[in-house]
Assembly symmetry: C2
Homo-oligomer: 453 residues x 2
């Protein structure tokens, strides 16, 4: 950015200094965006953070060469499609892990276990219908065809993107309005876990088909067993030994010991989930939080965890916003008109398929219309998960810039729209069917009763 005085201040410290400057831009932008949203627009701060992220991204203001100088946010040369340097992306992902760990800690574990069964129904519907509708829209509008497997692949990819659920935004909104451990909140978070397991299976199938032309039932079963096995194992074993973990961690008396070790546990769970079991990092972190949610450790770290989150989490949402590249829209060899039509149709399908796919099953497992709407809205955001799947599709060449741009629009709209409707949806009374108490949902009585009617 300018010539340096001495070698002491040359790389690698100069690199750090420039990134710290960018980090301060992100933090200030996040707070301005969040404050304006909350104070003047009366919408959740997370929307403002996403908004300023889009605004300061390398694709908009951040990429402008102001007054002939350098751009604030250059697209990294070797960023693998990321809009920020790896150092800042790393901190953003760390933030997502800490956010979901805290969400897990604040969830009532017994409540969660109760709702795994209804959540499975919700997640299954919220995966199958979006996949089918995404596949259908792509074929019907001529962006793929059923003539051969090769020509079908873009449709399979769009279907896979449609199944994604990014629970970070929903968790943040529910935490803001203190409804994380409501029946609907727990169902959404449990649903996100199941959704992630189903999602990696679908993606594994799609990638398998696009690379090999086929997949075997055995390999799918293996992926399924590994993912479910890890998740259940972590939750069950973690819960059983959580008392001892808590005691062990609290043995440390030095300042911040409990906080640091709790975070280390979250980091280990998230990394192992991602590296060895194919699950998303945030699912690992959430599950670890859940396992520790009824321990003394939780009470010890609650306050300091909130401070760490206050610092880190805005970075995550601004960086998500920065991944939005509207210039990808209408690129490639498709006419702008057909891209717009595809974008509108896919976005509508994305909303409808999650609302119906996740909402209708909720009606059959004990929620009334209010509750089902809340749950379906909570499952709506595709977030960074969809952006990453789409990025992989683009990089590996199975989808073109045209489809990529359309998918971006769908992702941004579902992600930005969900919190706008979530907050009003959570006003008002119970989301459970009248006469139904929570225990019945858990026992499965309701489900069978209704099925038998």
């Amino acid at each position: 950015m300018c010539s340096r005085e001495s070698k002491l201040h040359d790389s690698p410290l100069a690199v750090v200094a420039e990134l710290i400057l960018l980090l301060s831009v992100i933090l200030v932008a996040a707070k301005i965006g969040g404050e304006v949203s909350e104070r003047y627009l009366k919408v959740p701060p997370v929307l403002g953070e996403l908004g300023v992220g889009i605004l300061i991204s390398p694709f908009l203001l951040g990429g402008i060469h102001w007054f002939g100088g350098g751009a604030i946010f250059e697209l990294p040369q070797d960023g693998g499609g990321l809009p920020v340097e790896p150092q800042l992306f790393f901190i953003a992902q760390l933030a997502a892990v800490v956010l979901l760990f805290e969400a897990g800690l604040e969830t009532d574990r017994e409540q969660f276990m109760k709702y795994v069964r209804p959540a499975t129904a919700v997640a299954a519907g919220g995966v199958i219908l979006p996949f089918v509708m995404g596949f259908g829209a792509t074929v019907l509008l001529g962006f793929a065809s059923m003539d051969s497997i090769d020509e079908m692949i873009p449709a399979l990819f769009v279907g896979a993107v449609m199944t994604a659920t990014s629970v970070g935004i929903t968790a943040r909104v529910l935490a803001d309005i203190r409804r994380l451990d409501s029946p609907e909140g727990v169902t959404v978070l449990a649903g996100a876990v199941v959704d992630d397991v189903l999602g990696i299976i679908i993606l594994a199938i799609v990638v398998g088909i696009s690379e090999e032309g086929e997949v075997t039932a055995g390999s799918i079963a293996l992926i399924f067993l590994k993912a479910v096995g890890f998740w259940l194992g972590l939750l069950v074993v973690g819960s059983l030994v959580s008392k001892y973990i808590s005691r062990g961690v609290l043995w440390f008396k030095s300042a911040g010991g409990a906080l640091v070790l709790a975070l280390a546990l979250a980091f280990i769970a998230s990394a192992v989930a991602e590296i060895y079991f194919g699950l998303a990092m945030i699912i690992g972190a959430y599950t670890m939080g859940l396992a520790l949610s009824s321990t003394e450790l939780k009470h010890q770290v609650e306050d300091s965890m909130r401070s760490v989150n206050n610092f880190l989490v805005p970075i995550f949402f601004v960086v998500i916003g920065m991944q939005v590249d509207f210039t990808a829209f209408g690129a490639g060899d498709t006419s702008l008109a057909s891209a717009i039509v595809f974008a509108v149709v896919l976005t509508l399908f994305a909303v409808i398929s999650k609302l119906v796919g996740a909402g209708v099953p909720a009606l059959f497992v004990g929620f009334n219309r209010v509750g089902a709407t809340r749950i379906a809205l909570g499952m709506l955001p595709r977030g960074e998960v969809a952006l990453i799947i789409a990025g992989i599709g683009l990089t590996s060449g199975v989808i073109g810039k045209d489809i990529f741009g359309v998918v971006i629009v769908m992702t941004v709209v579902t992600t930005v729209v969900a919190p706008v409707f979530l907050i009003p949806a959570f006003r008002g009374g119970s989301g459970l069917k009248s006469g139904i108490v929570e225990a019945e949902i858990a026992s499965g009585v309701v489900e069978e009763d209704l099925a038998g009617e």
Copy 2:
């Protein structure tokens, strides 16, 4: 680390996951090292953190290929001599910035201004004598000669390394024992600021000579004016407008607003100091903290800042430990015996030159022997500043692996030894001369009285 299931979990998220795993190793190691130090060895936790850093570095345990698998901490291919990936190094540096920002916030600004004058005397002595003794030792032991400028350059470089003061460790120890705003504590921190200004001038001269064969008085004056001007400007202007900054920041009502914006101010100050004015980042952060130290903002963020620090700071000290590469010792074309002699002599000189160079001036500006010893010990650690200067010298070829290894030993010993003696030194009574009150030091009366005796 193992084959991945699906493309969703491929780079860049896989990279993040592996780094999160390494981060958890660093955090757990830090807490174990810190706890063992405090509980069983009765030494400050920071020593344990440095120790485990040395232990898990790529040069020791971290580099071993356990059971035929990969090493835990590989030396990064393009790390520019860093022992950890840029993402983790960035977080470590961020931690140092936040640590010194907090130290600045907790310093009494009026107290600080009082002690700038005595601190200047302390810093000047603590720069000149170490430079001369480092230069002398290198020439006397035959690692450089006065015959030509070219042959003199290694001695100039060793001298420059000897002048470094890394106040991070001292600040941490003084914060632990709550003596940051004692007269000695403030003098050390103010001395570190002056030391950094003098240090960049010396380094600029040394680098200028090694590159051009000469430097002009004008260019040195310019470097001096820029560094002092920025520092004074930030402190004076910052202090004057701190009330308004505080009010502006506290206008933000969203959760964590004050914390995030205070941190952003620290980041901006540290980045601007480094990029545009050649000062160390931690000096910028410390000065910003100092400017804001008597505001309402400080009280608002104190607690949450401590939580953020509890999480980040151990990372900094473990990563410093990881930079220690004992295999560099005795490398190159020097015999092991002469390397050992040089290391012992240089380490002794490093301790003596700071104790005398910083301690004796302290005696003349109102401190008694106890106070002077405390101050001199506080200025002892060379820390990461020296490691970075030495790394630059090695990379640019002006010093060889032999001298580099010797400098590492000197740095590690001074850095590790200082906290061991600092804590006992701060026990007991006042460090001021009897009959001298703080106000007299500030007014300069003492100095002139003593000078006139």
